[in-house]
Symmetry: C2
């Protein structure tokens, strides 16, 4: 077929992925698992090549003046590469969602109707520094029968290229075409933008990284997006909360891993509870190095608190800071969450089951907790084996996403000449 317009390299790659996706979608679970094991072995064997490429990225990063935390996320070690490989073996052990019959019935005219799970097709993954995403996302995509187009961040370009090159070599010895894994080498932003609108070749985009990246994809892509990410999580300590439970949950949700999306960001406290328990709460803040940013009432109670501004209610800290708001009622707490929550994870501590039920029914979020830490909103913690991310959107998938989130469905109708 002749084309008048010259197509770009990115589009060529997307077309190759689409073609590879077709044969990949027909492979058996065993064939896909064997490919994942081959990938894992080959990554382990070629650790030195990957580490040498990573060294280049680290060198470039140092020259650009990246901070230690950033360089740590970028840095690979033999152990980390072996962890990637082991991750692929874990994914191989997960149940293949493809082919599952979701529903099945026969119409009165004898037409057999079956709704089955099938792969989405081609997944576009747009991500930032961590090179582990290159392997993790590839493993999840291939296991669920999807091809993948990878667009990593420029700071990890050498590492990602080396990893993909090793994976391509490995795929030569499997039933999966190397074309099923495409890596966009261009670090130009225009390459990312091309992916945004490539609806005919790419079935879904998954952004992984900071809020700015995710927003750019959500706002500019015409390809459907699986939105993951921002968790401005609240804990409401009710008037009838148990002191020990409330404080333990607050400390765990805030301090266990402050930089993750299911960590606590704002504490809302009923004033009656606070009047009785302020000393115990102040002690917990102090012991765990938690810096309070409070509303007027909170600042009066906690002398070391900084007065909170609008951004304190609105944004994630991802640190040991916490915003504290004192309320007179459950309704006031819910209204605050409605206004500032990101629909990720919201918790209540109370001994009153009716209050808890109201809170869980009325608050709009992926995960609602009664007397437990928000930290459980996680595919691993919930027993999903592996997760692609935590969806904060309402369509398609909500909350931690396992392999089924990378599938869609098809109606298969078998007849013997039925007409309407």
């Amino acid at each position: 077929m002749s084309k008048l317009v010259e197509i770009s390299l990115v589009e060529k790659q997307a077309i190759q992925a689409k073609k590879a996706a077709k044969s990949l979608s027909l492979l058996s679970e065993q064939e896909k698992n064997e490919a994942l094991f081959t990938l894992a072995d080959h990554l382990e064997k070629n650790t030195q090549t990957i580490l040498a490429a990573n060294e280049k990225d680290l060198e470039a990063g140092k020259q650009k003046g990246y901070d230690a935390a950033y360089l740590d996320r970028l840095s690979l070690t033999k152990e980390r590469v072996f962890d990637f490989a082991e991750g692929l073996r874990t994914v191989a052990a997960l149940k293949d969602p493809v082919g599952e019959t979701l529903s099945e019935w026969t119409l009165e005219n004898g037409l057999k109707v079956k709704n089955v799970r099938v792969p989405l097709g081609v997944i576009g993954m747009i991500y930032e520094a961590r090179p582990n995403v290159t392997v993790d996302a590839t493993g999840l995509a291939l296991k669920s029968g999807n091809a993948i187009v990878l667009k990593g961040g420029s700071s990890a370009i050498s590492s990602n290229k080396a990893i993909v090159s090793v994976m391509h070599e490995a795929l030569e010895n499997t039933k999966i075409s190397r074309d099923a894994v495409q890596f966009i080498e261009s670090t130009d932003r225009s390459a990312t933008k091309e992916l945004f609108t490539m609806k005919q070749h790419i079935d879904v985009l998954i952004p992984r990284g900071g809020g700015a990246l995710i927003q750019a994809v959500v706002e500019n892509a015409t390809v459907p997006v699986l939105e993951t990410g921002v968790g401005n999580c609240h804990l409401y300590i009710d008037r009838e909360a148990d002191t020990e439970k409330a404080i333990n949950i607050m400390v765990n949700a805030k301090t266990d891993r402050p930089a993750v999306c299911n960590a606590l960001e704002t504490l809302i406290v009923h004033e009656d509870w606070l009047n009785v328990n302020h000393e115990a709460l102040a002690k917990a803040f102090k012991e765990h190095g938690i810096q309070v940013h409070g509303d007027e009432k909170a600042v009066n109670v906690f002398p070391e608190a900084i007065p909170a501004e609008e951004t304190d209610w609105k944004d994630e800290y991802l640190s040991l800071d916490i915003a504290v708001k004192v309320v007179e009622s459950l309704e006031e707490a819910v209204a605050h969450i409605d206004q500032y929550g990101t629909k990720h994870s919201e918790a209540i501590v109370t001994e009153n089951d009716q209050t808890a039920l109201f809170f869980m029914n009325v608050v709009d979020a992926a995960a609602l907790y009664h007397n437990a830490s928000t930290r459980f909103t996680d595919g691993g913690a919930l027993g999903f084996g592996a997760e692609i991310g935590i969806s904060t959107q309402k369509l398609h998938a909500r909350g931690p996403m396992g392999l089924p989130a990378l599938t869609t469905s098809k109606y298969l109708m078998v007849g013997n000449g039925q007409t309407r």
Copy 2:
């Protein structure tokens, strides 16, 4: 809370809808059903008011020179209004999806995890001429616990205003707030555009109408969209097809209701089958007034055929025209569908089950048919009771969408102090 920016009327309405959605989401199935029955009764009682308003739209339409088919779609009669009302009673009889437990388990630490179906929240419906959508969409939204913001076409403005006004009066006597049904009165396009980006108030946009409207919404909205619509459906008559089944299915899919999205648009015929059956096929075309637009081979076989151009393969006719392509293999047929299909409904006629299986596995569409007409891709025909539309997207819902497509899920976690 003070706002520096003056908010628009459309935004005020969306905020009212969001607020109403919250209490609506907590209503029981019985309360929602009673409201739907009240709406139905009140619409019947106020038929005259609605017909008088419809008269104004028809008058304006005639002056604008709309054609007879358009005016017919716009026109209401007592019977049509009673049909709307009956439609609401049908929706009331459907199973309420809200509250269904999708999965449930307990972690080793005793944390109880439950995934339940909940309403999406606020549905934004953007639609064209037919005033029945105003009632149908409202019924489906309310039954599934959602508020709705209606933005109808300007040509039906008086009819839609009258219908909504009657529904508002009726809601006064129900547990559902009248704010749960918002109608955007402005016929200005900027009002529609406002809805596109109102992510904080509107949970999903559903466009219903022509391809141009749907594309405008898909390409410009940052609010998630449920894409419905275009069906460029193919029928492939295989080398091993039964003559009678093939011709019956072609005639039914093409002529039963040519203007709907599950109607046949392109016939792909294996040349071996055509060599034997061309006379029977030509006779069927002639008897049913079907105009062929053929590729070179088809034009040679059917003397009355018009040579097909690119648009014949690409676009829906929605009429008694059909594009005909002759192929030498199954693979050629599949490649054509891959290139021009809109992933709606695709059919194969063959007596070879292996061929059919390959076709159904490899073709990417919402519905695949073996020896049956594409006309069954329809919520009514499949037994869903009512449908919001037929999704041609892969995320969230694919194919005919019933009430569950208007819901999302929530994880409810109940503990006794669990931390990680």
